[in-house]
Structures are given as C-alpha cells and as structure tokens.
C-alpha cells in the first residue's frame, strides 16, 4: 500500500495550549481524506504541519515517504495548497497570479503559460484573465485559489475549508471541480466543518476535537455506527414521551425544547411516537454525518 501521508503521534503546542495532541492517521494514494472538527479543534494546525508551514513539536510526519523535517522542500514542491484565508496576489492579474506562482515552483515560463491556460479553462475564467483579482467575486476567487494550488501538477492537494463563506452556487461549483480532480486520481486532504461537504467529498475522515482524533472511518459507516439509520426529532416533547423514551432505553438526546431519538434498527418507532405522544412537531429523517459530529463533539459553542 502506497501512503501519501503518514502521521504518527503528531503534537503541536503553543505555550500551554496543546493545539494538536497526539494525532495519527494515514492517507493512501488516490484517497480523499477529511479532517473534521469544530473551530479550534486543531485542523488547520495539523495541515499546516503537513504542508511544511509550521514545524511540529513532536511526532513523526512523512509525506510521499519523505520526512518533513529535512525534506520539506521536495515535499512542498509536490503539494498544492488552498489556504483558508484568501492569499491571492492583489497586485497581479488573474493570469499573472498563476504565472508568478509557477515561478515559485521553478516551472519554466513556456510550460507555466501552458499550464495557466489549461487551469483557467478548468475553472472557466479564461475570459477574465487580464482582470485584477480584487474584481472577482468570492466564488471566483476561490476557484482561482484552487487553480493556483494546481499549478505545479501536485501529487497531493490540501484544502483548508475550501468552501467556507461561499454561496450555494459557488460551493457546488467548487465541489464539482474537486470531484473531477478526485476522479482523476488526485489525493486530497481537506478540512471542513460542512458535513455535507465531507460526506460528499471524503472517502474517509477523522473527527477531531481538542487536538485529538475522536473517530475515524468512512462517512456512511460512521453514520451507521454512531447514529444509526434514522433520526426522529420532536419539538417541545411532552413529559410522557421523555419518560417513555427513557424507559425503553432508546438512544436519545434531550435539548429541552427538542428531543432527538436515534434509530439504529429499522422499526416502527416513529409510528408509535406519533400515534401515542405527538400531535405535531415530530419529524423523521435520515441520519447524517452532522448527527455524528454533534453527538461526538457536543453542542456547546466554540471559541
């Protein structure tokens, strides 16, 4: 098995704060791997160590089988990174952003030009190549950041919250592009806190919180393992229902004005509840990754 990323007992401390506290995982070639977690969970810190931006405090970190501590330049030349913050060069045009970035990778100017054209076509921005990047919308900028990350034809694409702050249209466009790259066999590592994004793009993922990995698995498996098939949500649940749920020993979460019941097996629980306890405000829906996420990381606000 060829591993693109091998992370073992990775730690990063900032003074007292343990931002990443003993994380281990591997990413195989061609795999799309997600790091999920609430804000401040240590996702960005982890990937920053992987792309050689931050030095690790301890642990072992190999990318393409190379050690990050002494072969970071070789590693970085084969990675493409979309950082969370917009770091496009506002002093340059759309096209120049790609061509100037190509220089940082020692790409010759003729092949840089060719590559720039291909990428501008890929993100459908050819007609705006001579505009300033500051004139682009948020969605277009993100597509350009993606194109820029692909300028060196990377063997690994790292995306830090690729669609945060985008409108649904732009988000779906970015997803389509990423799916296209995925189907070409590109290895992708991404962080996100959009569960829909993770479920759609990730072959495998880990949920991290407080610098530690809580679970690892395929999205569908995690849903099945931790939540089940379906979820019943009851708004303003009557006390009798709460008592009954407790008596039946059903897996549930009581949020005071809202009761969430997890259904692991196929049964007529929903039928029973609606007939006996609820007049309204009772919904049955499929379990999602978001249920897993909230169940494992809690519902408290972060930061």
């Amino acid at each position: 098995m060829e591993y693109i990323i091998e992370v073992e007992n990775l730690k990063k401390t900032f003074g007292e704060l343990k931002a990443v506290d003993g994380v281990s995982f591997t990413v195989k070639k061609g795999e799309s791997f997600g790091l999920l977690g609430p804000n401040g969970a240590g996702k960005t810190t982890t990937i920053r160590m992987i792309y050689g931006f931050s030095p690790m405090t301890s642990g072992s970190l190999k990318v393409f089988g190379l050690d990050i501590t002494d072969q970071w330049r070789d590693i970085k030349s084969r990675i493409g990174v979309c950082q969370q913050e917009n770091s496009l060069d506002p002093d340059l045009t759309v096209q120049q952003n790609l061509e100037v970035f190509a220089r940082y990778f020692d790409i010759q100017s003729t092949s840089a030009k060719k590559r720039t054209n291909t990428l501008l076509k890929f993100i459908s921005l050819e007609h705006r190549r001579n505009e300033k990047v500051t004139d682009l919308s948020g969605g277009l900028m993100r597509r350009l950041v993606l194109a820029r990350a692909l300028i060196n034809n990377p063997d690994l694409l790292i995306l830090d919250e690729p669609t945060t702050g985008l409108d649904p249209q732009s988000r779906h466009q970015v997803w389509e592009k990423l799916e296209e790259l995925k189907s070409r066999g590109l290895t992708i590592l991404l962080t996100t806190h959009y569960m829909e994004e993770a479920a759609r793009l990730c072959d495998r993922l880990v949920i991290v919180d407080h610098g530690k990995i809580l679970v690892e698995g395929k999205p569908a498996e995690l849903v099945k393992r931790y939540v089940g098939r379906e979820v019943i949500e009851v708004t303003e649940p009557p006390d009798e229902l709460l008592e009954w749920v407790q008596a039946q020993n059903l897996e549930h979460e009581n949020l005071n004005h809202r009761l969430i019941i997890y259904c692991k097996e196929e049964n007529d629980l929903f039928h029973t509840i609606t007939q006996n306890y609820c007049t309204g405000g009772c919904d049955l829906r499929l379990a999602t990754l978001e249920d897993v996420f909230l169940k494992l990381t809690g519902r408290d606000l972060r930061e």
């Binding site: 931006f53 931050s54 340059l92 940082y104």
Partner: protein
C-alpha cells in the same frame, strides 16, 4: 539553520516584485526623475543663492554640487527602507503574500532575502535615474559617479535589512512612524547631508559617525566630486557591517513572527 534555508529561489520573490513594479513603471519612475529637479531648484536656486559655495576638501564647491550626492544617498536610503517597511508590511500582513509563498518550496528566509534584495534593487534603479537627471547639470564627475550604482546596492541592502527588522517587530503599520521619526529623519538632517558635519558641536559629529547614512553620504559625495580615495573603504566597510548585523536579525525576527 537560517543560512541553510536561504536558496537561490529568493530570486523568484524578487521577480514577483519586479513584475508588479513593471506594471506601473511610469509611476514608479516619476519620483526619482522629479525629486532631484525639485530639490536642486529649491536648494540650488533658492537656498544656494544665500549659501554661495561650500569648502569641500580645500576647494569651493557650489551648494547644489555639494548636496546633489547627498540627495542621491537619501534616495538610496528611502527606496530600500520604505520598500522593506511599509510595502513589505502590506504584503506580509494585509495581502498574505508571504503566507501563500510559504505553501510553495520557498522558505521564509528565501522570501525575506528576496524582499531585501528587491529593496536594494529599487535603490539602484532610483540612483540610476537620478544620476541621469543630475548629469545634465554638470555637477557630478562622470564616469566616476557610476560607482554609485554598486554603492546603492550595498546601501540598499543595509537600509532594507534594518527596515525589514522593524517590519518583523512592529505590531501595526502605524508603528513605523517611530523608526521613521527617530531614525530616518535625524539621518536625513544630520548625516552631513545639507551642511558639513564640522558645523556641528563635536559630540554631535561623533554621534553622526554612528549613523549609516553619514557613511553613505561621505562616500557618494567624495566619488561624485572626484575624490576617490582608499579611506572611502572604511565607509563601505561600515555599511557592510551594518548590513551583516541587521540582515540576519531581520531573518531571525521574521522567522519568529511568521513561522508558528
């Protein structure tokens, strides 16, 4: 550790800045073209009429001939210092240009080296344009004065390095007022720029010897007026030492600021 991380790739950062510079070269060329004209007109025609000539190394020199090399020196300082303070700070802090570069094979040391070398390059470009303009006045010795071009690079490296050091430690862009007011402005006035240092009290003359601009002015003036002497190597050495102190300091502090 820091020395190991500097590679020839720093030139890519230089190229990036050059690409941006070329886009608006007409605007960039304007200050070094107009500034000497303004100054020479104000000081030469206005003040020079009052001052008359100044005794320099035993012979009388017109006032504009006396200050022209100082104006060039000041511009060497300004171009690199301001490039590596305000402009570099904008790229680092607001535009996240360095963050983007750090996701490529560039190291932070490559980036900072490229920025400082670029600042020095701007000093050279400004010097070349000013020399060209001033040459029409017949007040500098050519081709001797062409030596000012390599000197502009060394001076640019020195002032760019100290500028970058400030960029690494400044919390915000407004903080630059402090080094500008306490470091740049006194040099502008008291480095033998507009009047001979001998006119100052002796303690001030000694203090002026600490200022790097004093040495840059001394060297540029001697060369421009045709007094190329071995003593000038001392001034050159001073600037090189100054650069050798602040260049690594800038790298260390920038590393500490950005690599977390």
């Amino acid at each position: 550790m820091i020395a190991i991380n500097i590679s020839g790739r720093f030139i890519k950062v230089w190229q990036r800045n050059f690409t941006v510079y070329r886009k608006i070269w007409k605007i960039n060329f304007l200050p070094p073209i107009l500034e000497p004209l303004f100054y020479l007109f104000a000081f030469g025609a206005g003040l020079g009429a009052l001052v008359g000539s100044i005794f320099y190394k035993g012979s009388a020199v017109s006032y504009i001939g006396y200050i022209a090399p100082a104006l060039i020196s000041i511009n060497m300082m300004y171009n690199s210092f301001f490039e590596n303070t305000y402009s570099s700070f904008v790229r680092m802090y607001y535009q996240k240009t360095f963050d983007a570069m750090l996701a490529t094979p560039l190291s932070i040391e490559d980036i900072i080296t490229g920025e400082i070398v670029w600042g020095a390059t701007k000093s050279v470009i400004a010097t070349a344009i000013m020399l060209f303009m001033i040459s029409f006045f017949g007040i500098i010795q050519l081709p001797d004065a062409l030596l000012l071009l390599p000197i502009a690079f060394i001076g640019g490296m020195a002032f760019g390095s100290v500028g970058m050091f400030f960029t690494a430690i400044m919390p915000s862009i407004d903080s630059f007022n402090l080094p500008v007011f306490l470091f740049i402005t006194p040099m502008f006035l008291f480095s033998g720029t507009f009047f001979p240092l001998e006119n100052l009290p002796s303690w001030a003359q000694k203090a002026a010897q600490i200022l790097p601009l004093t040495h840059l002015v001394n060297m540029c003036r001697a060369i421009s007026l045709g007094y190329i002497k071995p003593e000038l190597l001392f001034d050159l050495l001073y600037l090189i030492v100054f650069c050798c102190i602040f260049f690594p300091l800038a790298l260390i502090r920038m590393h500490r600021r950005l690599i977390k």
